[in-house]
Assembly symmetry: D2
Homo-oligomer: 283 residues x 4
């Protein structure tokens, strides 16, 4: 069994020493670890994967209790998890199926270490796919008038399922600042362009107009400011002058699915840290 | 020996037939050919590489004369070249050496089928490198007051060397609309970002601020509108949270050099066509 | 509506002229076309996408009849299709779901212009997924003793469904030469390595042992010689020293799915031509 | 000023704690750090970049002396360097200039933190380029008969210049086991293929024959076994059916230069560790 300790705090001398001592005293055997201090934000980030002597399971509750002292010393944001703990996710979609399809397949095959609590949507198109994967589906229609109500339902779902992460898998509604503020660092969106290029609507059409030679996809944490949230992962794909906007849309689906799934993977493996407007991602 | 016929014209039925007949009647043996009709601009583009029977050299002058009839029929922009003809280029640089270094090495080794007529610069830093490659170097200092004069010197050089192409290899001055208009489709710039992201100054610093996970470089034809010219080629490079703006600058040099050299290669091989705000590139 | 004429034949002067004349005489409006003559095999390849005047549908049967003369002249292998014709595919799988999942989603969303006739498998694991997509599923168990019989059933299915293409979507059985010979140029396999590296079994474990920094996937036509068939498409993915063979297997799924789907797309769009041991792919 | 401590040793509990304590006691401020324990070789690897309080320079000699105790405890291979220390490299070339050209440009611009001690070659072609960069050039002609003598001269040069690293920048001679054994982990070669594909001579011609859709380049430590040394870095480039072997050779130069320079950069920044037949590279 493997355990992951991830943390961030204001940067100063001695953090790694304290944490490493904590692990060493308890026979924690470091498999993989990374640290980074961002000079521009003065924040320090650390992620450590460790096993135990003879691989016997440790008493997580006791360890967490014990770590509180070290954590308090540095005012850390921290998490300690075994690799058996699955991150609980709530997925929002609209009509496009490709991202959901990839996420659910990776969930079903165990590629993604998640528990898909439920899927919500403002359309009924993807209900069948959820049934196939035996995932609860919530129909959440929305009009301008019902938006506040619909969003409160989303948040209720998030809470009632005790979800850790909201994944916007080509959900075509813009979340209000009220909701995004409650979900800071807990909601990942996929934008179908190489941000900051082509923000907003119809990015592939914008890309076509501009004549770019590569199109992209960007997974980012949702923030108040549309398409301005901290970027987690990006990927690009070479395109040609002969591709119509519709063909760009089709080609782009592959990288959207891959980039979103990869960002969710990084998140659930505690590889991603918010660092001001940016992220630190330990790969 | 190989010949390249490249052309563009208003799109209509029968262009390929006419051109192919012209070649077939003269025993032109098509090695490689590509055509594209852009529905959004109603322009047609064609590039054909052919050899001759028994590989005996053809009378280019006579062929050109003969092709005028077909060309006139469709009001074509066209070019017919043997692969022995080298494109004559004038390069402008400032202080950064990496792009010039790659261009001159590819010129010297024959990788780029060009004849470097001369290098001009507003600084003296790269004079020695030009001497090493036995390329004339022109010192063209510039102040706000002398800009019109300096630019007229650039254009004089371009004309006196009978240059076909101006390559801005990290030349850190913005050309005036007067000059760019005279050089439409004949001047290639390298911008050190993945356009349209991060236009203008210090793109790597902008990229750092935004926290992108890939940086890019873009080679484009120069137009009146800074960093808005038709894109010829782009490339990206994965970067990490721990890279400082200065490290991004250093990492980016590799792709800047490669992308600029590739764009020049496409241009001199007559693979690139202006198509409104975009380019058609037959690879 | 768009039509695609694709052909190959022994190379000589005048092929493009003949074909282009044929199209021009019938008001065929070329949207996109590419030609290539391979000097090493002396074969010529051509793919032309065209529309008709005022976009009125053409009489495909009559056109095909008429084209026979030109085709006969050059002893062409050729195909003329409208973009409404779907390629009928039979898919073989074993237990792994990721490739099938991507293919069926792209089929259902119309991203792939195919009609999935049926899925066959030596295991029952993916029967449910086929049901969800309303695709007939054929259980084809296999032992060493029953291999000839099982393969004859596969071929019967292929014929009875009147399939155009067999897609091996991580089907973990090696087809016998008897079967592969009957399916030359009509069966695409995905191999989970960057061929010719790591042929045969457990390529990700081989890649781990060798310590490569990129892993790959290769889609190729099936031939007698295992993993030696003509390559259609390849892609790679950067990996890290800290990835276990199991993690490489998981990471590789993304590129396997993408590469296989892309190869099928190229094939059904008549972009791929067999050229000796290689392929010509017009993108 | 920044300091880098890099080390490897047999894996056990408490290594990070000991090292981090050592740093913390001396007010070492960790900027960036990575650790990895390879279960397949039971080796542990660590690289830490740190600064000092108020950025005052530390007494490296005293630190090294002090660290010996910790190092001894774990029988570490270790290195402690300031970022002002340049790695001294000896470069071997034959006739091809592109890799040398990139290395020397990156050296001259400070992109690579190296001191190029000298260049040796079995040909005179690149003597002028070395003169331009004011680098000593040693002509080391070789015949089958003189090979042992020539190699002893290479090693003498390596020793007399007190070089840290030998870089084979398209040096077209195979080093004998006698020499490679003396240079284990201290000699980097660039092979012009995506290893393990296309070992040995004329890899681009092999790639052409096989019809691969991507070509590659591999930088690796030199070992007894030709093209089997531990891989440091690899990159690929998309190619097309219409590229001749000669064009593949030309296209490949870009990635050869980039990959070799990147591998040298990783090495001189102490990011690379030998781990059996593989490398650990902390990026």
């Amino acid at each position: 069994m493997r355990y992951t300790l991830s943390l961030s705090c204001a940067d100063r001398v001695g953090i790694v020493a304290k944490v490493a001592n904590f692990l060493a005293e308890r026979d924690g055997f470091i498999v993989e670890s990374a640290q980074y201090g961002d000079p521009s934000t003065s924040r320090f980030f650390m992620r450590t994967v460790f096993t135990t002597k003879d691989d016997h399971p440790l008493d997580l509750k006791a360890w967490k209790e014990a770590f509180k002292e070290t954590a308090g010393l540095f005012e850390m944001d921290w998490k300690l998890k075994s690799n058996l703990e699955k991150t609980k996710i709530l997925i929002l979609v609209s009509k496009a199926s490709h991202c959901l399809n990839t996420l659910l397949n990776q969930y079903a095959t165990g590629t993604l270490n998640v528990d898909v609590a439920a899927v919500g949507s403002n359309h009924l198109d993807l209900e069948d796919m959820c049934k196939f994967y035996k995932i609860p589906f919530h129909y959440l229609p929305i009009t301008q008038a019902t938006k506040p109500l619909q969003e409160s339902k989303i948040f209720e779902l998030f809470q009632s399922y005790d979800a850790d992460l909201l994944v916007l898998a080509r959900y075509m509604q813009i979340l209000s600042p009220e909701l995004t503020q409650k979900l800071q660092g807990k909601a990942i969106n996929i934008h179908h362009s190489f941000l900051p290029s082509f923000k907003g609507a119809k990015p592939y059409h914008q890309a076509y107009e501009r004549g770019v030679k590569l199109i992209g996809a960007t997974a980012h944490y949702v923030s108040d400011d549309l398409d301005e949230g901290p970027i987690i992962e990006q990927e690009v794909l070479r395109v040609d002058h002969n591709e119509t906007p519709e063909e760009l849309v089709a080609s782009g689906r592959d990288i959207e699915s891959v980039v979103l799934a990869r960002a969710v993977k990084y998140h659930v493996e505690d590889r991603v840290f918010l660092d001001g407007r940016k992220t630190v991602v330990f790969k």
